[in-house]
Structures are given as structure tokens and as C-alpha cells.
Symmetry: C2
Subunit: 247 residues, 2 copies
């Protein structure tokens, strides 16, 4: 173990976030199905900014205040009172360019706010959609990293763990990893990487079953596809924007 | 999914225990390195009972009150003031037969008391040492199951996850599993099962490194070996005893 390398940890559930000191880390928020995949896609397609909020009433209020699009889901479906849902396919270039989205989701936006409350100074958004961009940025940045999985109502889930594993596999040589959760994620990804969708299906991943029952296989497949939107969403001044100079 | 089958869940850290309703479940406490391996071995070797306690002072006090052996560890080493440690090799038949052990450990005994506080009515002890006995019992019992990993100071660890995965792999046909953590554990075990010790070593499991640095490779290997002590420790009236009629 090279002590000069920065440390990398994986937090498999928001309920474990308190175990990690993130004050000096880059925190990668991971909510593959579907918040972080959608955020990444919308920014790649030209969204001006995405404002993540905790609750549906906040989403509606802020949406009105700044005349932005309101979007989000609860339990995998469009939340009542919001205009759009949490599918990356709802935000093509011709619709989203130049617009601001106010977004609330079951797990991802909540975790982002937990990380802020815990003193995180740098928060970025990770999804398979921007896998290589995230990895390249973390290596270049050369700072401690926390891969923070949004999970499902605090229960560890397969897809966020798989993404953490993909990142670990790609950047492990550049980091010091003394973290069993990272090793578990990496081993899981190694087993699944040849076909992530089939892996999710075969393992009866709870989120696969939930979204598939709504006819959203297309969304699942898209969210498990690497490098469809190589932008880096960063949190700054209350919103997620595309980091300049990175693609 | 057959709804008549009882549900099986895996809880990867004590900090996630609150997510599970365990009032009607058999709770399997898992602390492979080394509490549950040692409990199982000591009972197999003839210990009369093992009293799990939270703290070192309680351990010393109760040990005096009932003239029992005090044992336990903090951070992988014998805790100050106690007579013995947490190695299965400290409790051979010629020493332990007929004796009562008061035991406190960093993670395992704490989790057991958390499960009690949460209303668990049936608590059993699982380790590779008694893998088949645990699996056979769970199948025969035909009730909901929670595989509860003690982890390391609430951080998910590889060895407890591996044991949960071994159980899932052996009993999954008899249970309804809608739990990503169980699937992750099972996939991890599938990758590791040909040589658990090598897997732990290659993955630089944090507990492997900790115990190995104390020269305890022998303990690690023993604790990863299946079916060396096929007894079923159950919690009753404040102590762990060998369940009668099971071997």
C-alpha cells in the first residue's frame, strides 16, 4: 500500500454515511436508477442547471419561483404535482437545452443533502452514463474519494454497488483502498460486467423488478450503458451544473 | 417467487438493522473473525454456556459473580483485564468442557444485544464452523430469516458477507429473497468459494490484514473452514447454549 496515494472508500447506504469523514473528499453521488443517470443525461443534452431538492412541495415552490421545470419521482413513478419524471428519455436536447430542472427523487437527492450537511466540499454526480469522465476526474484530482451509493430507502442495492465497483476497478491503482465495501463492489462488478442488464435480471435486483413492472426495461438498459453522456455534473451554489473544460 | 416461502434478508451492518422487522424472524448473528466461530467451537468442545456481554467491565463483574472464565477482545487483541482472548484455539475440549465463558467482543456481542433490543425472539449463531447445521435448521424451521452481519465497527466486511452468501446459496430454493444484499453476498461467495482464504488475502480484506499482522493466519484459516463444529448455539435466558437434538 502506497501511503502517498489518496484513500478511496465506498459507502453502500446513506445510513452508513456517518462512518466516513468526507470533509476533505470528493464525494461521488451514485443513484443509477435513475437520478444520477438522468442528471448526467440532461446536462449533456444542454440543461442549464439542475436544482436537487428534498421534497415534492419544495420542488413545486422553487419551480414556480424561478419558472423552471419540475421533475421527480417517488417509489419509481412521477410524483404527484410535478411535471416530469425521472427518466433520462424525458430530457432530449430539443426539449431541455437552456432550461433549468428542479428535481426530487426518493434516494439520490436526499443523499446529496446528507453529504452537504456532513460538510462535503466537493460533490460530483456519477452514473454509468459518465463513467470514464468521473474516473478520469478522480485520478486527475488526486484527492480522497467517497463513492456514495444512494441505495433504496437505505437498503443496499445492486446497481449502485455495481457502479462503485466499476469505478474501483478503473482507478484502484491510483488510490489506497482499505475498505471491504470497495472490494465487494469491485468483485461484484467483475462478475457482472459482461452483461449488467442480464446480471440485474438474473439476480432479481429489487429495483430491476420495480422498474421492469412499470415497463421501464428501456430505462434500465440505458442507465446501465457506459459513457453515453461524458459530462461532469458538480454541485455549486445550490445547483448541479456541467463542469467546464471537461468532456 | 413463491409467496408461501418465508422471506430471507441479509443485513450487512448493525447500522442497517433498523431497516428490518425481526420480531417474527430467526436472526442469525454472524461474526466470522472471530466471535461466532469461537462460540461455536467452544460449545462443540463442551462449554456449558457462553454469556455474551457488551462491555469489558460487565465481563469482569459477571465472571467474578458466577466464577466463570472471562474472555474477549477489543480491536482484535485480548482486552485488558480479561483472562482469555477470542481465538477458537484457546478453547479445546480438555480446557473448556463443563465451563461457562463470559465473552465480550468488538462487534458480535454488540449486534446480538441490538437484535434483542429490537425484539428478536429467536437468535442463533452462525459461522463457517457450523454452516450446514445452520442451513439445515433454517430450512426445517421454515420461518423468516435475517442474516445479520456484525461487520467491523458498522463498516461492511468481506468475511461476514461471504458467510451470508454461503447460507443464501445453500437455502435460496426454500426462501423468498427480495433483497439485493442477499444477492450481492451470494455473488461474492460464488466468486470466493474455491478458496476463501486466498480471496480474503487477494482482496486485502481489512480484517485479514488486521489479524494477519498479529500472526493469526491460523485463526483466519480455521474460521473460514466449513463444518468443523456442527452444533447450533441458541440464545436463551441470557446465554448461548447448544441446542439439544441438533448435530
Amino acid at each position: 500500500m502506497d501511503n502517498k496515494k489518496p484513500a478511496l472508500y465506498t459507502c453502500l447506504s446513506p445510513a452508513l454515511l456517518h462512518l466516513y469523514d468526507i470533509s476533505d473528499s470528493v464525494v461521488v453521488i451514485i443513484d443509477i436508477l435513475r437520478a444520477t443517470s438522468t442528471i448526467t443525461t440532461a446536462l449533456k443534452n444542454g440543461a442549464k442547471a439542475i436544482i436537487p431538492v428534498d421534497s415534492v412541495p419544495d420542488c413545486i415552490r422553487i419551480g414556480k419561483q424561478i419558472a423552471a421545470i419540475t421533475a421527480g419521482e417517488r417509489d419509481g413513478q412521477i410524483a404527484e404535482g410535478l411535471q416530469y419524471g425521472n427518466s433520462p428519455f424525458e430530457y432530449p436536447e430539443e426539449f431541455i437545452t437552456g432550461k433549468t430542472l428542479v428535481l426530487t427523487t426518493t434516494n439520490g437527492t436526499r443523499l446529496l443533502h446528507m453529504a452537504l450537511d456532513k460538510g462535503a466540499k466537493e460533490i460530483i454526480i456519477g452514473a454509468f452514463s459518465n463513467l470514464d469522465t468521473v474516473c478520469n476526474y478522480l485520478i486527475k484530482k488526486n484527492k480522497p474519494v467517497l463513492l456514495a451509493c444512494a441505495a433504496w430507502k437505505d437498503r443496499v442495492n445492486i446497481e449502485d454497488t455495481l457502479f462503485a465497483g466499476a469505478v474501483v476497478q478503473k482507478i484502484k491503482e491510483q488510490f489506497s483502498i482499505n475498505c471491504d465495501a470497495s472490494q465487494i463492489a469491485s468483485a461484484l462488478y467483475a462478475e457482472a460486467e459482461s452483461d449488467l442488464f442480464e446480471f440485474m435480471k438474473n439476480k432479481e435486483a429489487s429495483h430491476y423488478k420495480r422498474l421492469s413492472s412499470f415497463g421501464l426495461d428501456k430505462d434500465i438498459k440505458f442507465c446501465l450503458t457506459s459513457n453515453t453522456a461524458n459530462v461532469l455534473p458538480v454541485y455549486a451554489d445550490g445547483k448541479l451544473i456541467k463542469k467546464a473544460g471537461i468532456s
